[in-house]
């Protein structure tokens, strides 16, 4: 199988700060791949580098067999879409859901807009009752569903998820994660998902990479993580931290 995303020796530098120090990874087609690490470990930067939002200093990114240059063309954005972390910030405050969903269709000159919008809203479980609402008339979970619908409306093959549920409360988190799982199965999408929550990553992803300070610590499968068969000390600490506070009597 070919790689959907292949990254080789990626460096990202923001004003002399090396946010990524030569990271390499490979995500297979149809796979769900997780990136784990503490805040500032460079996992979100990696996603942003793929989309062209972060300045790439060195290294190569290949998506669906095509090597990416400095700029991304429209065809790229039809293949790769992203869901942001904060659903309160990722929807334009002056636009209705309808307008938000129409925008990508207008940019790419897609004709059957009406049908696509209705289908996208149905797919994320919102229905047309939400179509003409503004962002402030939606709850956090509903907003994230709209953001997912917006990402899906161009029918991409790869979805980048930047902590898509960390701003939501636990019950809504589960709903959104299930929705993402379902969408992935139905559309055979490739996921590259960032999270600091190990439970979510083990639930959603088959393989994962642990990151620290802009470097890859190790690559694991979900079952290795569940079985605690890890080799790096950092991962062991991360696992211990994720078990939460344990009272010692």
């Amino acid at each position: 199988m070919t790689a959907a995303i292949a990254i080789d020796g990626l460096e990202v530098i923001f004003d002399r700060f090396r946010a990524l120090k030569g990271v390499s990874l490979e995500v297979k087609e149809g796979e769900s791949y997780g990136l784990v690490g503490e805040s500032g470990s460079g996992k979100s930067t990696l996603l942003r580098a793929i989309t062209g939002l972060a300045p790439v200093a060195a290294g190569a990114i290949t998506v669906n067999g095509k090597r990416l240059g400095k700029t991304r063309d429209k065809a790229f954005y039809r293949d790769v879409q992203m869901v942001f972390q904060d659903p309160y910030g990722s929807l334009h405050p002056r636009q209705t859901v309808d307008r938000l969903l129409q925008e990508p269709l207008a940019i790419h000159g897609i004709a059957d807009g009406e049908k696509r919008i209705e289908r996208a809203l149905d797919e994320v479980g919102l229905g047309t009752g939400f179509r003409f609402r503004y962002a402030h008339q939606l709850s956090g979970g509903q907003r994230q569903r709209v953001a997912i619908a917006r990402a899906l409306i161009l029918e991409p093959s790869i979805l980048l998820l930047d902590e898509p549920t960390s701003a939501l409360d636990a019950s809504v988190q589960a709903e959104v994660l299930n929705l993402l799982e379902e969408v992935r199965r139905r559309r055979k999408l490739t996921f590259l998902m960032v999270s600091h929550d190990l439970a979510i990553i083990t639930h959603m992803c088959e393989r994962l990479m642990v990151m620290q300070n802009g470097e890859a610590v190790e690559t694991l499968t979900a079952s290795q993580l569940i079985g605690h068969r890890v080799s790096a000390d950092y991962t062991r600490n991360l696992l211990r931290a994720s078990e939460g506070f344990v009272r010692t009597a």
């Binding site: 429209k74 954005y77 942001f84 990722s90 929807l91 309808d98 003409f132």
Partner: protein, 306 residues
């Protein structure tokens, strides 16, 4: 209309789940209107401006005399009376009629300046803020140069170069009043350009032009509308100032500033010649200021969940 239908209309407007684009837009406008109309003074301001519009539109009906031809023989410098409500000027023209027609010129100046200056400022500011780098530096330094001149002096220089006349006065005022709008638009742009919702449109492959025009400008527009409305009074006063200096409207145009200028000569004995247009400028300026304040409450993007 019965109470019940009014009630159901309000519910339709305030609905949480609008069923059409129109309903969503009207609902939003209604919320803004409710916030605006809660401010009594803003309503007074709006009434003054509506009054100005009505007077300008119906000038032919409202004015009993010609604004440009007077009765030089019998009606020079008459005090206010039943026949001439605001008296007459040195050429025997009815001042009330001149003020009624002057409303047209005031509106003409204010609207043209707003139409020219606001879009220039919005475009310059939004492009500078979004593009950043060299574009930003160059555009903002040009803005700074314009800001460095006192407004009236720069307008005077332009009128002196272009020749006196109300059209040139409008141009001169427009040229001098866009820089603050560019500053506001740039500031607003800087606050939204790095937000996730702008990144999201970038990730759809939208062109920078489209992002600025359709996603950033709408975020700048409400603060711009507020600022322009508050500036209207200043524009009227600048136009009046230019008229007063003889560089704006030329006789016999019934422009309020020019009317004050011609009344200056008789200000001690025939006070009404200058006082009537002065009061008109005062009231209209006040109206625009009150309206602007009300709009600030209604449209401010930072207040509430607009």
């Amino acid at each position: 209309m019965s109470v019940a239908t009014i009630q159901s209309r309000r519910e339709w407007l305030l609905s949480d789940r609008p069923a059409s684009r129109l309903q969503a837009r009207l609902g939003r406008a209604y919320v803004a209107w409710r916030r605006f109309s809660a401010n009594r003074l803003a309503l007074v301001g709006m009434l003054i401006i509506i009054g100005l519009l009505v007077v300008a539109a119906l000038a032919d009906v409202l004015a009993p005399y010609s604004p440009t031809f007077g009765d030089l023989k019998n009606a020079r410098l008459l005090a206010p009376s039943a026949a001439h409500w605001f008296g007459t000027d040195d050429l025997g023209r009815d001042i009330y009629s001149r003020i009624v027609y002057g409303a047209r010129w005031t509106l003409y100046v204010v609207i043209l300046v707003a139409i020219i200056a606001a879009p220039i400022g919005l475009l310059v500011g939004a492009v500078a803020g979004y593009a950043g780098g060299w574009t930003d530096t160059i555009l903002m330094r040009i803005t700074d140069i314009f800001l460095a001149f006192p407004k009236l002096v720069l307008a005077l220089a332009f009128v002196a170069a272009l020749g006196p006349g109300i059209e040139n006065a409008v141009l001169a005022i427009a040229i001098t009043s866009w820089p603050p709008y560019a500053r506001i638009a740039r500031a607003e742009t800087l606050t939204v350009r790095n937000s996730d919702y702008i990144k999201a449109v970038q990730l759809m492959g939208a062109s920078p032009f489209r992002i600025v025009l359709r996603h950033i400008m709408p975020m700048c527009i409400s603060s711009l509308i507020i600022r322009v409305t508050l500036d209207m009074a200043g524009i009227i006063l600048t136009a009046a100032g230019l008229g007063f200096l003889g560089l704006g409207a030329q006789p016999p145009l019934p422009e309020w500033g020019a009317m004050i200028a011609s009344g200056r000569r008789f200000i001690l004995d025939q006070w009404w010649v200058a006082a009537a247009p002065g009061a008109a400028i005062l009231i209209v300026s006040l109206g625009f200021n009150l309206l602007g304040d009300g709009l600030r409450d209604a449209l401010d993007p930072r207040s509430g969940d607009q």
